[in-house]
Symmetry: C2
Subunit: 345 residues, 2 copies
DNA sequence: TTGTAGGCGTTATCAG
DNA sequence: CTGATAACGCCTACAA
């Protein structure tokens, strides 16, 4: 009552294996009658062709490998959702490896994937790897000939396509928004100083402060290793620098910043304005709601898949690799003051 | 400078394919010298055995299929993290399909997976499927002989193992906690009334209200379809019933409840206490921080993997299927009043 | 219209 | 110690 391969089906039908195979693929060189007879029986016995064999034969897997630092970060979750959706739409499966921001796990994941189980790889690079600036293990994929597309956390020096967020401009615009709402002493707080993304955001912040006009303070950059000593670090900085505006390099830092400020009996945004990144649930639910950079993570996932599939299906084109950069939007909510048109520059 | 299969390697080494294969597997019937010669060359040429062929031969894939409603919900994200971690530890890969809570997508996912690409399936059932109480498509996996383990959102009537959270007791204990802190008019608000999980939580709530002692109000159950009309629905209920305690069936509802209450110039927990489920970031970052049920999602993911691998690797055992139920903890924070020992029952 | 043969890359068995 | 052969399940020329 259960048939697992063509041979068994063929025996029951008293046909050859190849005829059954062709009938199931609806080939015109098999008589219509036979075709329907075969298909009916196949259905009845719940026959499903073995993909492994098909893949081995065709050399394709219709599977995309995804290496991602984690899935709990809402940004990565959104990207993943986008990846899955687009992959499903294009009839690809995805296999996921979580690097946990560790280089060794990332390396293992690569070894796991480049042995024929996937047609291509999407990767966002682990913090550790970016800190160490060591991409040998990534080069292995390239050498192996497996198409690869980097997304969000990207590193140059690898022959592959990249998709990232325009983090520089995002931070630049966000900082300018703080300036336009009257902030003079703007700090940048970051738990991701070692990543490409963190670097771009910092640059954007610094550049914006360089704009003439307004008597701004010198840059105040607060780098934190993790969230445990967050409050302490920020409190110290707040007291020392009379900060009146904060650009946080991720969502959680922004939320913690709000909490810290309020714990000092200060008001957001009256005393201190706060802008974050990611535009996730935390931003929507915080009190006050958080002004934040929207990164279009879902779209990024989709685009990454499309680009990878292009490389998979048209591998010839040795055109130069592209680096596409996604624009961001600033979603203004209540953690920043209303804009004062008189002071816009 | 790149070798993709044993045949090519064998030619270079002037050996037979089978000898090379054995040498790479370090078989003692190949001379030590040959073995190292082969391995050296394999490394030099970057040879990686083709898993597809290996799998076809062995009939195993060392891959687990995961069908999950979504990955953005922090609870599912945590479960997924647990699944991935344990799978990696046991040297399994995972392929992920997101059902988006839609039955058709769930069905497609099943078809995608049971054709030999995975050794077993982990599934948490889509809302739609649970609403319709239709599990034909799930039965297909069972019929096909692929081991399957259900987690969190489970349905009976399927011959398989299940792992779920003790949602009944969780809600029961949470409701009792509200009672113990002096709440008399306790409401239950749920956006997941159609799911197994939502049902259990409601039952726990109702049972707790049935306890004698304290002059409690009748049950107040607020079922919402989505979050858009949330505020309106809750405001109406608050006005009508003088609610002083809320058990929310998920994290987001709890957060929205706090916001709604505060928007009415009421205080949490002084006027209304709130308890949620999931214990995610939102609970930790809200203001006041949220008293919440911890479900140990990560552990659930791990356990599900272990159980599935057991079935995969020892398929003979036709022992009865197990349904393991994970205990929960109540994490008390600031959205509930301090307990008044005098009123504990 | 149907069947036969060979091969995708690997491995287990058995022969040399 | 090494090599030839068959098999996993499927597909596609080509032959009948």
């Amino acid at each position: 009552m259960k048939v697992t391969n063509l041979k068994e089906l063929a025996q029951i039908l008293d046909l050859s294996v190849s005829s059954v195979s062709k009938a199931l693929k609806n080939r015109p060189d098999i008589s219509l009658e036979t075709r329907s007879r075969v298909k009916a029986l196949a259905k009845e016995y719940g026959y499903v062709p073995n993909v492994l064999a098909q893949n081995l034969k065709s050399g394709k897997t219709r599977t995309i490998g995804v290496i991602i630092p984690n899935v709990l970060d809402e940004f990565f979750g959104m990207v993943l959702q986008g990846i899955e959706k687009q992959a499903a739409a294009k009839n690809y499966k995805i296999v996921i490896c979580i690097s946990d921001d560790k280089k060794t796990k990332e390396k293992d994941a690569i070894e796991t994937l480049i042995n024929g189980s996937v047609d291509g790889v999407l990767i966002s690079i682990a913090k550790e790897t970016q800190n160490q600036k060591n991409i040998e293990h990534l080069n292995r994929i390239v050498k192996h000939g497996t198409p690869i597309v980097q997304f969000d956390r990207v590193m140059t020096g690898l022959e592959c396509d990249m998709i990232s967020v325009d983090d520089f401009n995002a931070a630049f615009k966000a900082t300018k928004h703080l300036m336009n709402t009257g902030c003079k002493r703007i700090a940048f707080i970051t738990p991701i100083s070692g990543t490409s993304v963190g670097g771009m955001r910092k640059e954007g912040y610094l550049q914006a402060l360089n704009l003439k006009g307004g008597n701004l303070s010198k840059p105040i950059v607060i780098e934190i290793k993790n969230y445990t000593n967050f409050m302490q670090a920020l409190r110290a900085a707040l007291n020392k620098n009379k900060i009146d505006g904060i650009l946080a390099a991720d969502e959680l830092s922004a939320i913690y910043a709000i909490n810290t400020i309020q714990s000092l009996e200060l008001m957001v945004p009256t005393d201190v304005s706060v802008i974050g990144f990611t535009n996730g649930m935390l931003a929507k639910c915080s009190n006050p709601t958080l002004t934040t950079v929207s990164q279009h993570a879902f779209k990024m996932g989709k685009k990454a898949v499309n680009q990878l599939i292009k490389r998979i299906e048209y591998p010839k084109r040795e055109t130069d690799y592209i680096h596409s950069i996604l624009k961001t939007d600033l979603t203004v909510r209540n953690s920043t003051k209303k804009i004062n048109t008189a002071t816009i520059q």
